[in-house]
């Protein structure tokens, strides 16, 4: 029986970028306000995972009076199960660069940075060539904008925007308190627009085809398409651009191996959805399941019945324990205690009720941790422990 929702493949992001010069020139000729309104009416939300409205971000930064402002492209893609940004930067880099320059025009900034994760060092030579081509053209049309690459050095937390600024300032990548937000106090204390790679690729689409083409895709509160990084127990792992709003059922029909037990939506900091919930789960910003945790963005990991959910959780917690910046106690100590705790339950040193204590600990972390890392550990922990409790114990 055909289902009501359909999985709709879309092809905007990786469509060729040959018209970039024209799009750049046309956009630079439009007033900032018009461009901002175009983005706002498209209802594009940040594709890094937090889902902040992109148009509003540009607007707030444009309104700041400061003379020096920055445009930063966040390419510190580190969420387990996410690998789309690398693909964008290697296949259509000029789209990203064009959007950065248009953003520079909108907020009146002439300096852009790409914060590239250390693991993607090998992208640099090609990316530098594209930047050179791009900057040459900017000079040709008398538009003052330059772009530099800033390399990360292997720290997941630097994908958190304020930790990223700290890192660029030559410090430990420790998140700052918010507010102030980047639109008023970003890199070097200056107003900064920081966008995920994919977000910038979407803004290019919007400048190319207009807001309506984008808005017409997706469902209410979750407009447009999104790249999904599909991995795990699937016969066709890879990167797919899909319309937002699909049900997880349809997703699993398409990508599952026929024996899918659970899907992790949004990476280690996202949620695990067990088979019985596939039907009631939609993928988009409103449907609780993606976009609320900070560093996620389209990671879909499938697990079949041969996988132990205990091992999955153990692996996530080890990841968080290592990647926690260690600055705030709930996250630093919490991640250690959660990992020790599930190991102790598994070995039989603690009884099953101890899991409830650990669940309360994740709740505390959710309220008290300083940034999205510590706050979102609760997502995967509670969704795994609540749905696969017996696997944690026996």
């Amino acid at each position: 029986m055909p289902s009501i929702y359909q999985l709709k493949r879309v092809d905007f992001i990786f469509k060729d970028e040959k018209d970039w010069k024209e799009i750049l020139k046309n956009s630079l000729n439009r007033p900032a306000n018009e461009l901002i309104n175009e983005l706002i009416s498209s209802e594009l939300k940040g594709r890094g995972g937090a889902g902040f409205p992109t148009g509003l971000k540009w607007k707030l930064t444009a309104e700041e009076e400061e003379h020096t402002k920055y445009v930063i492209c966040n390419a510190d893609e580190g969420e387990p199960g996410t690998f789309k940004d690398r693909e964008i930067l290697s296949k259509v880099p000029l789209k990203v660069l064009t959007s950065m320059a248009v953003c520079g025009h909108v907020i009146r900034s002439n300096m852009g940075y790409i914060y590239l994760r250390g693991e993607y060092f090998f992208l640099q030579p090609e990316l530098k060539k594209s930047i050179k081509e791009f900057e040459d053209y900017c000079r040709e049309i008398n538009f003052d904008f330059s772009i530099r690459i800033f390399m990360g050095s292997g720290a997941y937390i630097c994908g958190e925007e304020t930790a990223l600024f700290e890192s660029m300032e030559g410090k430990r990548g420790e998140p700052r308190n918010k507010p102030p937000f980047p639109s008023t106090y970003g890199y070097m204390g200056k107003p900064t627009v920081i966008n995920n790679v994919e977000t910038l690729a979407h803004t290019y689409t919007i400048f190319e085809y207009g807001a309506k083409r984008f808005y017409d895709l997706g469902v209410q509160y979750s407009r447009g398409s999104k790249l999904f990084s599909v991995s795990g127990d699937t016969p066709k792992p890879g990167i797919y651009e899909l319309e937002l709003g699909m049900s997880l059922d349809d997703f699993v029909d398409e990508f599952g191996d026929g024996d899918t037990k659970a899907v992790q939506v949004g990476g280690a900091s996202g949620f695990l959805v067990p088979r019985k919930r596939f039907g009631e789960t939609a993928i988009g910003f409103q449907g609780k399941l993606t976009g609320i945790s900070l560093p996620t963005g389209g990671s879909m990991m499938l697990f079949n019945s041969s996988r132990s959910m205990y091992n999955v959780l153990d692996n996530y917690l080890e990841f968080f324990r290592e990647e926690s910046c260690g600055q705030c106690t709930p996250c630093r100590v919490g991640c250690q205690q959660l990992l020790n705790g599930i190991k102790a339950v598994k070995r039989g040193e603690k009884n099953a009720q101890y899991l409830d204590k650990l669940l309360r600990l994740t709740e505390t972390m959710q309220y008290t941790a300083k940034c999205g890392l510590g706050q979102s550990v609760a997502n995967s922990f509670s969704s795994i422990v609540e749905n696969f409790r017996e696997e944690m114990i026996y």
Binding site: F83, Y120, F122, S153, G154, R172, G173, G232, N311, F319
Partner: protein
């Protein structure tokens, strides 16, 4: 190859001597030396006019800025969930057997170090590893043996 003092001076000339240039300078030293010695960190602190503790604190935060002596080729095998499900342990075992070292160790000739790392972003081609900055994906024990043999031969030719 420059002596490290000269390298640090050159890097500071190239990037600038402000605090915000610290990371590129640390990365430059690691690229040549493979690690940050205490001497390098103190020297960087002197050149940038920072407390050495600040340089140490920053350097030790980042997993790719090693502060222990490392081999010429640093092998980093991804251990995050998908790679782990798709046979990461077998890959590690193959490398350990071939190089006669354990995870975290360096071969006595100083050529290879073996480490595990968090998600490399190649989950769709798991398991994956980095050797210095080069990525290898869809690994099998056979492929790993082939890759390492190439590196060992390459090393032999250079000498």
């Amino acid at each position: 190859m420059y002596p490290v003092t000269e390298l640090i001076k050159n890097l500071a000339d190239q990037h600038g001597r402000e605090r915000r240039n610290l990371l590129p300078i640390l990365q430059g030293v690691v690229e040549q030396e493979k690690y940050l010695s205490e001497y390098s960190m103190i020297e960087i602190a002197r050149v940038l006019d920072l407390p050495a503790s600040e340089v140490y604190g920053t350097a030790t935060f980042y997993s790719f800025l090693e502060y222990k002596k490392m081999g010429k080729y640093i092998i980093r095998v991804c251990k995050t969930i998908t790679c782990s499900m798709k046979g990461k342990n077998q890959i590690i075992k193959t490398i350990e057997d071939m190089l006669k070292i354990n995870v975290g160790e360096t071969t006595p000739d100083g050529n290879f170090s073996l480490l595990q790392t968090n998600c490399l972003g190649f989950c769709h081609k798991a398991p994956a590893m980095l050797i210095n900055y080069e990525v290898f994906t869809d690994l099998t024990p056979e492929r790993v043996r082939e890759i390492l043999t190439n590196y060992i031969n390459k090393k032999g030719k250079e000498e």
